[in-house]
């Protein structure tokens, strides 16, 4: 069984590296050295921003090609959110999200393991809290710190004046209303989300929108939710000929798929890209 | 257009599901003749008629119509040469009697006097009343008459009907045979499968007697329907009384 093999090999490799680590790494003594994650988004944050040698396990979803951003390091074990999987790895820090794998997290906590719940983020304020919570647990990881500061810096910049109208058209004709992070990003970047605060007051969350409503709203920028290239009828609306005129005139912006399942990962990038897009439209 | 059909069968054989249902049948059907194919159940009457009509392909031997091998005649042309009424023909849709009869004109494409022909054909089977009635609401005998009108409506010089009198009452049996007699007299070739030997004896010019897929006897009814032959083939005793070549009546009994 491959998983058990890697479990056996991982500590051996870890001890080999440990000597070097103690000498070279400029990390605080308190920082956890064997981190496991029970949450897809936290997986991604760890893999992107934290030294891979400190990660012992991520969820199996992170190996899925829909979510994987780079090849997984060999020594990282995949877990399916079960307590016993993590026990044998003896991590010194288990990160869990607000939802999912809650039972495993509670069980591990009962067994005396250090489990930290990192809250999910549905808006920019929560996003910053999430990064902060992660920072206090992981110690001063250079990349994590850098990303948190970068987001803070961008958010401190003034919102550009005279908003440009925009509308999101996601898979299955879904658009994002005012309660959503995507809406906040648009507004912060100087856009006016046309799907927000419509007369019926239905614009707070996700909403189905027909193509003719998009055309009638005449947004200056059409925002698509991208990522997947494989065929799905869910993407049919975005491939309709009437959308082509937006594509042809460059009035389309594609949000990265990561924004959907792990906004912390890309929020700063998206904000900057949206601002640039706005500049190019205003000019 | 061919107005007459001279049909010849040579050494006809037919295999179905590995069984020989027709074997070495040589016979002829001439214009102006009304021929009855008779024989006990399972003798091969229906099979012979279907081979003649081109519905089944013979496994051996040939059927030729006017000296032309039947299989080499294009399907559309053969349909104009030969009209066929199978033993059972249940219409799948409840069309009106007139519409069913009109189907007999399909091989001729658009026929200008279609309605007139349909009416005449229905009159010949005493079925004027069935013209507007849905065929699924007709009784068995009434439906049979409509189907016969379908057979008569075209101009085919060769008419083949498998037990046309089945389900008909006695009056309409006689009427039908008289009609077919008249059609044969007008120069057409008519072939019927019949169970009623007295009808065959009375109306037909020629009789083919089949037994076990082989041709047992052929000739005029008077030649074929001898007490000895009938006794051998059917296992019944019989007595035909003839007057002017026509059988006046027939008496049967089990041997």
């Amino acid at each position: 069984m491959p998983p058990e093999d890697s479990v056996d090999r991982a500590p051996a490799r870890a001890t080999r590296w440990l000597g070097l680590l103690v000498l070279l790494a400029a990390m605080p003594v308190a920082a956890a050295e064997r981190i496991a994650s029970l949450n897809l988004c936290l997986d991604q944050l760890l893999l992107d921003w934290v030294d891979h040698r400190r990660i012992v396990s991520v969820t199996w979803l992170s190996a899925n090609e829909h979510y994987r951003r780079a090849p997984l390091p060999d020594h990282v074990t995949l877990n399916r959110g079960r307590a016993e999987e993590l026990l044998s790895l003896s991590p010194d820090l288990v990160l869990a999200g607000q939802f999912g794998a809650g039972r495993a997290a509670a069980r591990l906590q009962e067994l005396g393991m250090r489990v930290v719940i990192i809250p999910d983020a549905y808006n920019l304020a929560q996003l910053q809290e999430q990064l902060q919570a992660l920072g206090t647990e992981l110690g001063e990881s250079a990349e994590l710190l850098h990303q948190a500061r970068r987001l803070e810096r961008i958010l401190q910049q003034p919102v550009p004046g005279e908003p440009v109208s925009a509308m999101i058209l996601s898979a299955n004709n879904i658009t994002y209303g005012s309660g959503m992070l995507e809406h906040e990003l648009l507004e912060r970047a100087g856009f006016r989300n046309l799907a927000a605060g419509t007369a019926e007051g239905a614009g707070e969350q996700l909403r189905r929108v027909m193509l003719e409503e998009v055309i009638a709203a005449e947004p200056q920028l059409l925002v698509l939710y991208g990522g997947e290239q494989a065929f799905a009828l869910a993407h049919l609306a975005a491939r309709h000929p009437v959308i082509r005129r937006y594509v042809d005139s460059g009035r389309v912006f594609t949000l990265p798929a990561e924004l959907g399942f792990c906004p912390a990962l890309v929020a700063a990038d998206v904000l900057e890209a949206l601002k640039q897009k706005r500049e190019s439209l205003v000019r | 257009m061919t107005l007459s059909a001279d049909v010849t069968c040579r050494e006809l054989g037919l295999l179905r599901h590995g069984q020989r249902v027709l074997d070495d049948i040589t016979c002829a059907f001439r214009p102006g003749e009304l021929t009855a194919v008779v024989g006990p159940n399972g003798a091969g009457k229906s099979s012979l008629l279907q081979v003649l009509a081109g519905v089944l392909d013979a496994s051996g031997g040939t059927v030729s119509i006017n000296e032309q091998p039947s299989q080499s005649i294009p399907a559309a042309e053969r349909a104009r040469l030969c009209a066929f009424l199978p033993q059972s023909e249940l219409p799948s849709w409840s069309v009106s009697g007139a519409d069913l009869v009109a189907l007999g004109l399909l091989p001729w494409g658009r026929v200008p006097d279609r309605d007139e022909r349909v009416r005449t054909a229905l009159e010949r089977v005493d079925g004027k009343d069935f013209a507007q009635r849905p065929v699924t609401q007709l009784s068995g005998g009434e439906l049979r008459r409509v189907q016969l009108a379908r057979l008569l409506v075209g101009q085919a010089p060769l008419l083949i009907a498998d037990e046309p009198t089945a389900a008909l009452d006695i009056r309409h049996q006689l009427q039908l045979l008289q009609t077919l007699r008249g059609i044969a007299d007008s120069g057409k070739t008519v072939v019927l499968a019949l169970h009623d030997l007295s009808l065959a004896a009375r109306y037909c010019d020629r009789v083919l007697l089949l037994e076990g897929g082989r041709l047992r006897a052929q000739g005029t009814p008077r030649d074929v329907f001898t007490p000895a032959m009938i006794g051998e083939v059917y296992g019944v005793s019989c007595e035909f009384r003839w007057r002017d070549g026509e059988a006046e009546f027939v008496v049967f009994d089990l041997i």
């Binding site: 004709n173 009437v242 | 399909l106």
Partner: protein, 331 residues
């Protein structure tokens, strides 16, 4: 009575343009219809774009698909000599959908051009051929339905399996689309993709009309009437496959149109299986267009699938057919 039938058919034909206008007026956005109509199809004005690029192709696609399904159902009933025959019930649509799924999710993309309808037609052809061979000709209603249900269940399972392993995050939810059909988000491209094949299928079926008439009297009589040989059933099977396959390729499987419509219009054409073809095409177009108008005006969080609407109409009808057959014995 004959005249009444003609009047009824005339009314149906007259209702089609009215329904088309109703469909063009249906939608969440209030458009200035007259102005949009005047601005013409090249206009960049949003009302005109909505009318000419969104609503019109969708409505025309409803007409086209409805006509194809109605005609396909009429032809199948005529060919199998059975009033329970229907493309979706007997797996013909599933065959087309399976082929489309294999192409779309494992092969080329939506804009894969002519391969999509061609493959769907191939799938439909194999399915309808299987039904024809399995159930036999002039099979009893129960034998036909059994064979059809078996084929349909098998193909539906294959569809679900194919989508289960499809490399798409939305694959599982899209089983619903392929099973219930949809006209949402369709444009001129899909209409033009299906049109030539549905027209070709219609022409094949039209060419087979006299064969269908002759089949009223059974296979033996049809042969004696000059319709012997394989080319007649082959043309009919191809015609059904082309019409139904091309319709399914762009709109998914929409059931019951091919069942209900021929039954409703059969009395209007005096049961003639040939005239039933075009009458069913007309009535199928009207029915599917009206179903789509209902879908467009239906308020709900999710899109109402058009196949669900036709099933609402068709399933009770199917029950009624079975009950009346048991009572009358004349199915």
């Amino acid at each position: 009575m004959f005249d009444n039938n003609k009047i009824a058919l005339g009314l149906l034909a007259g209702a089609l343009p009215l329904a088309l206008v109703a469909a063009l007026l249906s939608g969440p956005v209030n458009i200035d219809f007259a102005a949009a109509l005047q601005q013409g199809w090249r206009s960049e004005n949003s009302d005109a774009v909505i009318l000419w690029q969104l609503r019109l192709p969708r409505a025309l696609l409803a007409i086209l698909v409805g006509a194809a399904l109605g005609m396909g159902g009429a032809a199948m009933q005529g060919m199998l000599r059975n009033p329970l025959a229907e493309p979706a019930l007997l797996g013909v649509s599933s065959g087309a959908a399976l082929a489309a799924i294999l192409l779309l999710y494992y092969g080329l993309a939506w804009q894969s051009g002519w391969w999509l309808p061609l493959l769907a037609i191939g799938g439909a052809f194999i399915a309808v051929l299987s039904v024809w061979l399995l159930a036999g000709r002039g099979a009893s209603a129960s034998r036909l339905v059994l064979a059809g249900v078996a084929i349909n269940a098998f193909l539906s399972a294959l569809m679900a399996l194919a989508l289960n392993y499809a490399p798409s995050m939305f694959a599982m939810q899209e089983i619903v689309f392929w099973l219930l059909g949809s006209l949402a988000n369709r444009g001129w491209d899909q209409l033009l993709l299906a049109l030539p094949f549905i027209l070709a299928g219609g022409l094949l079926l039209f060419a087979s009309r006299n064969y269908l008439r002759a089949l009223t009297l059974g296979e033996a009589t049809a042969v004696s009437l000059g319709f012997g040989g394989r080319r007649y059933p082959l043309a009919l099977l191809l015609g059904i496959a082309a019409a139904v396959g091309a319709a399914v390729a762009v709109a998914g499987t929409i059931g019951f149109i091919g069942l209900v419509v021929p039954h409703l219009v059969r009395p209007l054409v005096r049961q003639d299986p040939a005239r039933l073809l075009w009458a069913s095409a007309l009535c199928g177009a009207l029915l599917l267009l009206m179903a789509d108008i209902f879908v467009l005006n239906f308020v709900g969080a999710q899109e109402l699938r058009i196949g669900a609407v036709t099933a609402f109409l068709g399933a009770p009808f199917f029950f009624w057919l079975i009950v009346s057959a048991r009572r009358g014995g004349a199915l």
